[in-house]
Symmetry: C2
Subunit: 326 residues, 2 copies
């Protein structure tokens, strides 16, 4: 029996997504378009950097079963110094301050790694595998608990001099508007994010006791139970007050997008996150406001994300692939 001839094996890539409340890991071969295997796990009730790390380590080792990846790509839900792969902090989980995550991973798995924040990585995921394929310049925007974004310019991620680019959530669109957690007034996030849509609905219902009957009945009169999703549902059922609230949110996002279009002239905006499920009126108002805010010579598309919650994991796969080819 002759020995097997040496074959060139497809390089194996490990993709990791550290979310605020859930984690995911997956294996993919270089150039492939389907996961070979993947695992997901929720965080415990009071997560720390240590519990995050232990969950991710065990997910990855389960997947690898002793194999060694050729490269690792990581999406992290918080600010990252992508040049060194150092996590700056997590807004949701304590203990992540200045953690050299890239180095930890390279030591643990013996393969080169790249780490970036979730918005940048999700942008890369949509660009390579989702709604941004074939598009050389795009801003991916996630609108959910917060509003964040990631850039692709000239087909490559652009994360800025300090890795902070893409913060469309904290551009001011209404200096006389309500105060945001960040301390400024009328940020896109303050107008357009899910929790603030819910808050605005509660305020309007309190101020206008005879309106919003559909919205009220959807939460059985318990205003604390209102979420952005409920506001959308009430809008779909014809509740005027609910739509007025949602319209302001869509308007704020539309102004932000139109401003960005004038400033950067990208081909496409890709919108993901829970709030994008707010229905046709929301999309129409976002698109219309953005178009009237942009100069007439500036053209762009506003399209829904294709990969949903998986965009960061797909982007992590792309990051690993790029790391291998670097």
């Amino acid at each position: 029996m002759s020995r097997d001839k040496p074959v060139t094996e497809t390089p194996l890539l490990l993709a990791l997504d550290f979310g605020g409340t859930k984690h995911a890991a997956a294996l993919i071969g270089q150039g492939e378009t389907q996961w070979r295997d993947s695992r997901r796990k929720l965080s415990p009730a009071e997560p720390t950097a240590q519990t995050d790390w232990e969950i991710m380590r065990s997910l990855a080792h389960e997947l690898l079963q002793g194999a060694k990846p050729n490269a690792i790509g990581v999406s992290f839900g918080g600010p990252v110094d992508a040049k060194t792969g150092t996590v700056r902090l997590s807004h949701h989980v304590p203990g992540w301050e200045n953690v050299p995550l890239q180095q930890w991973l390279e030591t643990e798995f013996g393969a080169p790694a790249r780490v970036d924040n979730d918005a940048n990585v999700a942008a890369l995921g949509e660009h390579r595998f989702g709604a941004g394929q074939g598009c050389e310049s795009l801003l991916y925007i996630t609108i959910s608990t917060g509003v964040g974004g990631g850039w692709i310019l000239n087909g490559q991620p652009w994360s800025g001099a300090e890795g902070m680019a893409g913060e469309i959530g904290h551009i001011v669109v209404d200096p006389d508007g309500p105060i945001c957690l960040c301390g400024k007034r009328g940020c896109v996030e303050r107008l357009a994010s899910g929790p603030y849509i819910a808050q605005a609905a509660r305020e309007q219902l309190a101020a206008q006791p005879h309106r919003g009957q559909i919205l009220r009945s959807l939460v059985n009169q318990n205003l604390d139970a209102i979420t952005a999703q409920v506001v959308s549902e009430a809008t779909a059922q014809g509740d005027d007050l609910a739509w007025e609230v949602l319209e302001v949110a869509a308007w704020g996002l539309g102004i932000g997008i139109g401003n960005v279009a004038n400033l950067m002239n990208p081909q496409r905006f890709i919108l993901g996150g829970g709030v994008t499920k707010s229905g046709a009126q929301w999309w129409e108002t976002v698109r219309q406001t953005a178009q009237t805010t942009a100069l007439p010579e500036v053209h762009f598309e506003i399209v829904p994300a294709a990969l949903g919650d998986e965009a960061p994991l797909w982007g992590a796969g792309a990051l690993a692939s790029d790391r291998l080819q670097a």
Copy 2:
């Protein structure tokens, strides 16, 4: 007598700046940092594309004296399709609609040419020869009759999918603000540009007859003679009303810059144009507003342009150099 040995001559670059009211042409050797020769000429009272072209042709031929340039770079004061070197139009001079300027120049001078709009080219000029040297990401902003901008990202110009990037003048910073020529309310240009500063001063003087005595006396009570420069002068002499007007303008620009910092996280903003001569209070307000609008993690410098009105001509030289190496 022996024949001269062949020598490798430094490639000769022709730089052209088509302004709204004045034109400039210069010769420089590849890699050099001083003009070998340059010419400037004002437009006639009622310029057309034809008079612009004839002036530039004759300036260039005077400079060249029969020599052939190795490459040509052009700054044009209006929107340009840089990929094809086609001028879309001039806002100041009729007849420039869809002119294939790059092709005209290549035919006229027998050398490869590149054409881009003045803000993009000025950004390149400041990057290679001025206040942006050694800086990999910057936005150059000119604040004069209008407010425009040009990007350098990763050390290269970024002009957007359609060549329209950099329009910081038409991002909305105050949706309840005054109406701009572009039809929107509260654009940066509407708040921060020279003519609108003058207009705001006239309006305030009309509304507050007992204030602004210094400003009034500087124009001998003739309010039509007020310019942004006069408003600055009155501010320097301690006129409170003049400063209130200027402060709003600086505030609008500062909000715009802070928003851009959050969105793109560039290292530096370079400010040029007449309004930047408005004094220390203006600069301080721009810087302070920009910094408080930006997220605390986002850092940047705001510095004066170094090349003044010559930035587009220097950028045209850089464009010619790049064309040669392409």
